[in-house]
Symmetry: C2
Subunit: 146 residues, 2 copies
Amino acid sequence: MLTIGKLGEAAGVKVPTIRYYEQIGLLPEAERSAGNQRLYGRKAQERLAFIRHARDLGFTLEAIRDLLSLSDKPDQSCAAADAIAKAQLAEVESRIARLIALKAELERMVVQCAGGRIADCRVIEVLGDHALCATDHRHPEVEPAH
Amino acid sequence: MLTIGKLGEAAGVKVPTIRYYEQIGLLPEAERSAGNQRLYGRKAQERLAFIRHARDLGFTLEAIRDLLSLSDKPDQSCAAADAIAKAQLAEVESRIARLIALKAELERMVVQCAGGRIADCRVIEVLGDHALCATDHRHPEVEPAH
DNA sequence: CTTGAAGCTATAGTTGCTAGAGACATTAGA
DNA sequence: TCTAATGTCTCTAGCAACTATAGCTTCAAG
Ligand SMILES: [Zn+2]
Ligand SMILES: [Zn+2]
Ligand SMILES: [Zn+2]
Ligand SMILES: [Zn+2]
């Protein structure tokens, strides 16, 4: 049985984050010691590792909630889980596409500036006028939280 | 002189967002009509377009605040502005690198799953164990808000 | 047995908005 | 001109996914 601090260390998750996951129901309520401190066993450890890994791969807590509840039903079809992963892949691909467009515009700005006065700065100039951009980078979708 | 609704329409920014920008001091307090409604002239329009464009390019409001205050000093050197843009470029590049690693792992998961039961699902399996990943994609830095 | 680290709860702050409530202003049609 | 619809006003609260603080209790080492 691990204390919350040891668990956090083991999983690479900060202590308040673990309590937060419990609070929003992503982790079950932990067992408590005589002195009211949380204690975790192997199952909780695995669950937290799963959450952490999925977060590292960019899944939202909502998606993770669904994946966890699927993983508790080993005999069901995995189609739903695969769909969540595919959606996440699509999300990542579209973010990459958007960021590549941003990168191109930022590079153009930075390269074109000769480095003189603000009045002649290409960075400031381009920021003031999207018509000076080469691509249409305008926020087609939302970027992620975190 | 435009009302807040017209200004928002012109700049592609929602009305509450404009009020929010004013609240946090990114836009100056607007003139008011006899009936206490905000009125905007060309300068406010340009400032809002600047903010909007910089947001579309992924700059934070803090960075934009700095860029705006620089753009108000046309005779100063633009080095500071260029530095902000370069930092943003670096940020975008590192996000791209991270997302490409995520994409690779997500593709691996999705491709490897044969589509049977949850108990045999590669997606669930990999999420539970980073050792099954081919790359080290673990959150080297923070993703942006929004 | 004492001290310092680690744990507890509860609340508020972060970023960049967005949505509501309830009141006032403006504008278009009958 | 009256009225109804829309627009605007302020203020507050909510979103994701944490993070930080305050003020307490409990635990482990010396
Ligand atoms: Zn410059
Ligand atoms: Zn542009
Ligand atoms: Zn599967
Ligand atoms: Zn991994």
